[in-house]
């Protein structure tokens, strides 16, 4: 597993276009939303220890060779800190080598539950949920451990997960394929837009390869998930898996995250308007599963999603036309949260101040653009003290 960090360069460069400037701001927003490298390492450490506990020789699960691996946003690098909550929700799969026909869902989850709670440390942290055993690490994260067994009918990387059905108080099997899904998503990330210049016969300048380069698609997913958290009271109403799948399907390889959002919003709104029924969002790695089942069951949820996403598209497109950092910030605050946008802009201003203090801030001749590029076309910003009441 690897964590994809954001482009480090964005904190250093001076934007040369409004799109680039907006992109930089959006990267910074994502950076604030996601699990930090330290938190990530801590989570990794914690789940390895849990994994060891589950798979130790004296563990009743030992014979099933349990393997723990991350799934969902932790796996694909699209974590978003829940609004008004310190803890991240991180999903782990605890896969046991056993055919799902040889065990009941309840037996499976209880075996994992019993083993976890037989450890004094975990006992105080553990909580049984409808699909998982949750470990509550206060002020850090919730580690959700989803017990799973092999789905030998579907084969491949498909698994089955116990699922508690509240209406009839029973446990059944839910189908899943987190490894397959992650692979599908990562493949989508690699999509590269064929630049128009290339068609016209001009060779595009290849973008420098940067290991810290976070794929644009992941940033778009984080931003739209954040918007969901801001607009919808209950984040479960619009599950991340629906958003992630829709976004990945619509992604056409844009390298600019703001261009990417523009086309994805357009795409979602078009799909909605062309579909007389609530959208179906089949699991790309298991066509029988519809992630958007919730929408068929609760049309009210679907309606509010349609309304809000259209508003998002309108506000976004208006924002692109606005001039003024403050005006753009106002719309972005509404979409992604005021606190985060304010602090990102403040940090931007402080970065500029650092250049100024360091005598390495310039203004471009003619336009007055601030730049760190010393040239015959720029003038040094000398030391000054703003005055006046």
């Amino acid at each position: 597993m690897s964590i994809t960090m954001l482009r480090k360069a964005t904190s250093r460069r001076f934007p040369s276009s409004a799109t680039q400037q907006l992109d930089d701001l959006l990267y910074q927003i994502c950076d604030k939303l996601q699990l930090s490298q330290t938190q990530f390492k801590l989570a990794e450490e914690r789940y390895k220890v849990v994994g060891d506990w589950l798979s130790k020789e004296d563990s009743p699960l030992y014979r099933y060779l349990p393997k723990i691996y991350p799934q969902g946003s932790l796996k694909i690098g699209t974590t978003v800190k829940p609004k008004g909550q310190v803890e991240f929700d991180l999903d782990l799969v605890c896969e046991l080598k056993i055919d799902h026909r040889l065990i009941t869902p309840y037996q499976l989850i209880m075996q994992v539950w019993d083993r976890i709670t037989s450890n004094e440390t975990y006992k105080s942290l553990a909580e049984l949920k409808k699909r998982c055993v949750r470990l509550n690490y206060k002020k850090e994260f919730h580690l959700d451990i989803l017990p799973a067994c092999l789905d030998t009918e579907m084969g491949g990387t498909c698994i089955r997960i116990p699922n508690y059905n509240k209406t009839n108080n029973t446990w059944n099997w839910a189908a899943s394929n987190p490894k397959g899904y992650a692979q599908w998503f990562e493949d989508k990330c690699k999509f590269r837009l064929v630049k128009e210049e290339a068609i016209e016969g001009v060779d595009p300048v290849p973008e420098p390869e940067d290991v810290d380069n976070k794929p644009t698609l992941k940033l778009a997913v984080q931003l739209i998930k954040r918007w969901r958290d801001i607009v919808f009271e209950n984040r479960e109403d619009i599950p991340s898996i629906i958003l992630t799948t829709l976004i990945a399907q619509l992604y056409r390889g844009e390298s600019s995250v703001s261009d990417c959002l523009t086309s994805i919003l357009y795409g979602i709104v078009s799909m909605i308007s062309q579909s007389p029924e609530p959208l179906e969002v089949p699991n790309p790695t298991n066509q029988e599963e519809d992630f958007a089942e919730k929408w068929q069951k609760d049309p009210g949820l679907y309606e509010s999603f349609c309304l809000e996403i259209s508003k998002f598209k309108e506000q976004w497109n208006n924002m692109l036309q606005l001039k003024g950092i403050d005006r753009k910030a106002k719309v972005l605050s509404r979409l992604f949260g005021e606190d985060i946008v304010t602090s990102v802009i403040e940090e931007f201003a402080q970065r500029i101040s650092a250049y100024r203090k360091d005598d390495s801030l310039y203004v471009s001749k003619s336009s007055g653009f601030l730049t760190n590029n010393k040239s015959s076309q720029s003038i040094l910003v000398r030391k000054n003290t703003f005055y006046g009441a």
Binding site: G324, A349, V363, K365, L380, K383, T385, F386, Y387
Partner: protein, 160 residues
Amino acid sequence: MVHRDRNYNPKERARTIDQQIVNMRANFPNFECKRSRNKATWIGLLQPTPSSNSYKVEIKYQVGDIPRVFVRAPALETRRGENKIPHTYSKNEICVYLPGSNEWRPTMFIADTIIPWTSVWFFYYETWLATGKWCGGGTHPEKRTPYIKSDTEKSRRDAI
């Protein structure tokens, strides 16, 4: 308000208005200049960042007086619930340097000093509107300036 430049020293070789005009035209050719005797007025647009607004500014300068910077369009705004804009003399005149300090001297070019400072001012103005924080530093008349402030003055103020 007195606009005489405290730093003006007739013995020092101040830039002439012609020098200022030629230099402005070379560096900021989109600024229009009106001139009368030893006075000049430049009007032009400045945009601190690609996402920023373009601001129409008017710079007025007469050799021996301080250069003055007026914002002509769009009108400067205050934040909701506040009635002041930091570092302004009036509703549309901004203060980009400390009078009486050596930041501006008549031996300097407007294009090398006042114009870059003005663009930077707009940058901080926009981020101030967005965040409520002026990140560009500066000083206020009532606080006096660190370099004028004597120890006695400071202790007197602290006593209050």
